[in-house]
């Protein structure tokens, strides 16, 4: 049953690519988001401006266009540099910006902007009284961040984080357009070859729904955990 005209195993492999891509880009996005949020809250005019420009630009341009710009343009930019190295110094060195890397970077970059907004809102919602109390106890600033600010912030950030993750997961489908063999690409290829689009595309849709449902469950558990001590769940 899972054979699907011989495409079954490749479809599963594609699902693996989708998941890896989603998780890696999420990691990058969270890191960038934390950076952006701190830049936006910083007193430095330059940092604040840069972060604002970044979030505005990213949210104004379609993901697919950014992805193509980075994948096609980024490679050409890298070539200029490596060619220069080769011509000048005879260093034969090349950087391969493959579709997977380009996908992770673009998706991470795009969602970093959204995460930045989520984290900024969440940090601002943290009760300063608690932070002050921690300082009064003599905690250092890193310890305050780790023990007080971060867990409290997460409580407010989780709903936004969960929402961003759901959108990010669906965005990964776009990498199939720039040539990465995720499950959407395998399904589209198989549909064309066998002329049975439903056989491949509907299972793919079901896998997305499955991943979404499992993540919803995980986020609900996390929410419960971070809500500890706040009565209402």
């Amino acid at each position: 049953m899972l054979d699907l005209h011989g495409y079954g195993p490749r479809l599963l492999e594609g699902a693996g690519v989708t998941l890896q891509l989603a998780v890696l880009s999420l990691t990058l996005a969270v890191l960038l988001g934390l950076l952006t949020a701190s830049a936006k809250m910083s007193r430095s005019w330059l940092l604040h401006r840069t972060a604002t420009l970044y979030t505005t630009l990213i949210r104004g341009v379609p993901d697919l266009v950014l992805m193509m710009l980075l994948f096609f343009g980024g490679q050409m930019g890298l070539n200029l540099i490596t060619d220069k190295l080769y011509d000048q110094f005879g260093v034969d060195w090349y950087i391969d910006l493959n579709a997977f890397v380009a996908g992770v970077i673009t998706i991470g970059f795009i969602f970093g902007a959204y995460m930045g907004e989520t984290f900024r809102g969440a940090f601002m919602a943290v009760d300063e009284g608690q932070v002050e109390a921690a300082k009064a106890y003599g905690m250092g600033s890193w310890l305050v961040f780790r023990r007080i600010r971060f867990p409290l912030m997460m409580r407010h950030a989780l709903p936004g984080l969960s929402n961003n993750w759901m959108v990010l997961l669906k965005t990964t489908a776009l990498v199939s357009v720039i040539g990465l063999t995720d499950m959407v690409r395998v399904a589209a290829e198989a549909s064309r070859a066998t002329h049975e689009p439903f056989t491949f595309l509907i299972p793919v849709a079901a896998i997305y729904l499955l991943i979404a449902s499992v993540s919803e469950w995980i986020f609900a558990r996390l929410q419960k955990r971070y809500n500890v001590g706040f009565g209402e769940q």
Binding site: P62, V65, A173, E196, A205
Partner: protein, 244 residues
């Protein structure tokens, strides 16, 4: 027109990539994107209102199918939906003989159907949330005045729900504009399609995609300001009275 062409020709002289031909492609791309997004949002909006009301029904058999629909369309990538409709429609038995075929065979309509169903699902959930948030007091007051449930819905719940839904709906409009970029995957010459053409012909990724990005950026800002204006007009009563 003649003058415009001449002016363009002198302006673009010596430019290999941005010729009148490629600018023409970007222009038709802009028109296609605008049509696609506007029409799908409009139909999606019209579908979403009754669906949102049904979604809040007390009867399971009314509520569940609508929930299932929004769950599926919000839980899967638009690209997959587009593929299913674009390729799938061909394999519906007898469709190629039916009167619908001349419409469906154009790439524009399968894309329009996919976009409409997608935005209708998101908009249904936005409205559903806004309806649920109606204050009990308003509904009870309407009842006390002797309004029927239908009248209450029309006169009291929906108008205030629309206003409450406005910010979220504005996001949905921008989301739809950006999502429409995948239309180029099924051969439509939208803004992204034009950019891909220019890139493939001249190997000029920066020019091709940055130009497209700028067009999208302008459109996004236009939508943003439109909604900000609407919010100011329609949500004025929600502003704190003292101003500051």
């Amino acid at each position: 027109m003649e003058q415009l062409n001449q002016w363009l020709a002198t302006l673009l002289e010596g430019n290999v990539i941005f010729t009148p031909q490629t600018l023409g492609y970007y222009w038709t791309g802009l028109v296609t994107t605008a049509q696609l997004v506007f029409v799908s949002l409009l139909i999606g909006l019209i579908l979403a209102v009754p669906l949102a009301i049904l979604r809040g029904s007390k009867h399971r058999w009314i509520k569940l199918p609508v929930y299932f629909y929004t769950y599926v369309f919000r839980g899967t990538p638009l690209l997959v939906q587009l593929y299913i409709i674009y390729y799938g429609v061909v394999f519906v038995d007898g469709i190629q003989e039916s009167f619908l075929w001349p419409v469906l065979k154009e790439a524009f309509y399968p894309a329009l159907i996919a976009f409409t169903l997608n935005t209708a699902a998101y908009t249904t959930e936005i409205f559903h949330g806004a309806i649920k948030a109606t204050s009990r007091g308003e509904i009870e007051a309407a009842r006390a005045y002797g309004m029927s449930p239908g009248l209450t819905m029309r006169r009291i719940i929906l108008p205030s729900a629309f206003r409450r839904a406005l910010p979220a709906y504005g996001n949905e409009v921008i989301f739809m504009l950006h999502a429409s970029a995948i239309a180029s995957v099924v051969t439509l010459m939208d803004i992204t399609g034009a950019a891909r053409f220019v890139y493939a012909r001249y190997y000029a990724p920066f020019e091709a995609f940055i130009f497209a990005a700028l067009i999208y950026l302008c459109l996004t800002f236009m939508i943003l300001y439109l909604f900000r204006y609407l919010e100011k007009r329609l949500l004025a009563h929600l502003k704190p009275l003292s101003g500051n």
